[in-house]
């Protein structure tokens, strides 16, 4: 069934160091030595606490910032070597992002239709009937075109705007979609609809999605693969079920202990301190010094030491 998975993008040894300040420059290692493959039509969750480097990885893939080290190979080609104008344009068409705050993506002064006009103006999308294509894409994401087109952003809800952006990605026949904290501002009842839609679109159109979140339950629900990031490092990577059943890195384990779940109460006698994980990770790395990033079972790897 799922053999011969086609790899659309391969991220290899990705690092990003931000430099801030001119006189006394400070360096922030936002991402270090990140490697993973993105398969056609698959959903990958990228999970980690705030500041762990998730957005940075997303922006590197979107070619919004320059990488410090490593390579991103898209359809056999190193994206840093894409310089040709047409090729760059093609890349920006096929690799897209949807961000946390959908309102920020829309210009409040224009009707929402503009996001569609813009892509039809910029790209050769190959539809015979542009208006029909837009309507079809809107139906695909459960939006009624007559109640959506012609509206201003503030007249639609956050969930509707996000669905509109998914529709746009579908029209553009995107290969890789980066969804950064996509549904965090939606309500439980609305967000599950957007999620289902994302999975359906992705299976139907062969679009791969990197789903950035800090909600483990949501990550588990929709993704085939998971990446856990902690302080700029990829600490656990692999098949979602395997990671969830056999979480091995102390940071991943802590996440599972902390996640609130209906039907299972936190142990009131256990003293839970967010600070504790820093010590636990340090000890774990010391105990396993020299081991590095190891595959502990098929399609499940763990960072045992950072040196």
């Amino acid at each position: 069934m799922e053999k011969n998975n086609e790899i659309v993008m391969s991220v290899q040894g990705l690092s990003k160091v931000f430099k801030s300040g001119i006189l006394n420059p400070e360096y922030t290692v936002a991402a270090k030595d990140i490697s993973f493959d993105i398969e056609k039509g698959k959903i990958i969750s990228l999970i980690g606490e705030s500041g762990s480097g998730k957005t940075t990885v997303g922006k590197l893939i979107l070619k919004l910032i320059k990488l410090s080290e490593g390579e991103i190979i898209y359809k056999g080609k190193n994206i840093s070597e894409i310089e040709d104008k047409e090729e760059t344009k093609e890349y920006y068409r096929r690799v897209q992002g949807i961000f946390q705050d959908p309102f920020a993506t829309f210009n409040p002064l224009y009707r929402v239709d503009r996001v569609f006009d813009m892509i039809f103006d910029s790209f050769e999308l190959g539809f015979e009937d542009k208006d029909q294509a837009i309507r079809d894409a809107l139906y695909d994401v459960n939006l009624n075109p007559d109640r959506t087109l012609g509206k201003f952003p503030h007249q639609l809800s956050g969930g509707q705007l996000q669905r509109l952006l998914i529709a746009r990605a579908l029209l553009m026949d995107v290969d890789v979609l980066i969804a950064d904290e996509l549904i965090s501002m939606l309500d439980a009842s609305t967000r599950i609809g957007v999620l289902n839609l994302l999975v359906e679109s992705c299976k139907k159109h062969g679009m791969a999605v990197i789903f950035i979140t800090h909600d483990l339950n949501l990550g588990y629900y929709i993704s085939d693969k998971s990446l856990i990031m902690y302080k700029g490092r990829l600490v656990e990577r692999g098949d979602t079920k395997k990671i969830y059943e056999n979480a091995t890195h102390p940071y991943t384990q802590m996440l599972f202990e902390a996640v609130p779940e209906i039907g299972e109460r936190w142990d009131p006698d256990e003293e839970f301190l967010p600070e504790q994980v820093v010590k636990d990770v340090k000890e774990f790395y010391q105990e396993n010094e020299g081991k590095g990033f190891v595959e502990i079972e098929e399609d499940h790897s763990v960072l045992f030491s950072d040196k």
Partner: protein, 330 residues
């Protein structure tokens, strides 16, 4: 007034704007017992924060319309602002939604705390700061944070500082509005547990914990109240609400929550189609009726609040007939 610290009866508060009235708190009735943590949940925009503001500030355009609120014997809707101010921090205290964003990056934490205390007429002498340090220790923060700037602290640490100041005068009633929403899961657990600890230590009397995240409420709330589009939908003991919800909206909300162990591939969760109604000049009728799979003609009238069991109330015409097994369609 028995052991209730708060009794809210038919409370209405609307935003009075040019186009009319946004009916964000419309006929809300509930009580809060001493020592109880009441969770308040509901969709974004359903009026949770407005309910909190109705108790505390009522800044324009929010206007109190009718109803009663009895807080440990004080009829707070009838009090003047000056009188009410004396209750702030001592009897009632609010941690507002987005309080985290209110930290000024140029102020030291110490200054921030002192300014806030003074605003509420609290003396910021050595005794005060000794107590602050004691409480910081309780939330596992070193007193050295006092000399740091807010940008040096993580969101979770800032939220702990906020909890310390909001409860420094041991309020009888604390309203915590989305105190976990912007935090990482580890800090969420710490901060939520802290709220329960403060109650156990009797530093706070009772609390209303507002969040859109039911799974956090499940962890620490004694009872849960669900609001929908400015109306009361259901209130009941936490386990009852989760296991035997009577309101179709409560059921839908619980069913849409993903849990570890459920993958899209194996089981598709369902959400609720559509969006909540606009509250501007909204008229009669159950406000959930356009999305409710069970709605009938009767639902064009506003359903009354009825008792299901001790401490469990619901507003739905069909709660009895539907039972708690709301899986079948109409």
């Amino acid at each position: 007034m028995s052991e209730n610290i708060l009794e809210v009866k038919n409370l209405k508060a609307y935003y009075d704007i040019l186009k009319g009235q946004v009916k964000a708190v419309d006929d809300i009735t509930f009580t809060l017992k001493k020592g109880e943590i009441l969770g308040l949940a509901g969709e974004s925009g359903c009026g949770k924060s407005t309910l909190a503001s109705t108790f505390i500030s009522r800044k324009k355009p929010l206007k109190y319309i009718s109803g009663e609120v009895d807080l440990v014997g004080h009829q707070i809707m009838e009090m003047s602002e000056k009188e009410f101010k004396k209750l702030r921090l001592r009897t009632i205290s609010l941690i507002p939604q987005y309080a985290l964003d209110a930290f000024s990056p140029t102020k030291k934490i110490k200054t921030y705390i002192a300014d806030l205390a003074r605003q509420h007429g609290v003396k910021t002498d050595k005794k005060f700061f000794d107590k602050v340090k004691e409480r910081l220790d309780l939330v596992n923060l070193d007193e050295s944070v006092l000399n740091r700037y807010s940008i040096e602290l993580s969101g979770g640490m800032k939220q702990r500082v906020i909890m310390v100041i909001s409860t420094i005068l041991d309020p009888e009633f604390l309203i915590a509005d989305e105190i976990t929403s912007a935090l990482d899961v580890s800090s969420q657990r710490f901060v939520a547990t802290m709220l329960a600890n403060l109650r156990d230590l009797e530093i706070i009397g009772s609390a209303m914990f507002i969040t859109h995240d039911l799974s956090i409420l499940y962890q620490i709330a004694d009872r849960i109240m669900i609001m929908y589009a400015g109306n009361f939908a259901e209130i009941g003991p936490t386990d009852e609400i989760v296991e035997n919800p009577r309101h179709p909206y409560t059921r839908a909300l619980i069913d849409s929550l993903p849990k570890v162990g459920i993958q899209y591939k194996d089981k598709r969760l369902s959400g609720i189609e559509g969006t909540p109604p606009h509250l501007l000049n909204i008229g009669e009728g159950c406000r959930f009726r356009h999305r409710c799979p069970y709605s009938i003609e009767k639902c064009e009238e506003t359903p009354p609040r009825e008792k299901v069991a001790e401490g469990h109330f619901v507003s739905c015409w069909r709660w009895k007939e539907l039972g708690s097994d709301l899986s079948g369609k109409k």
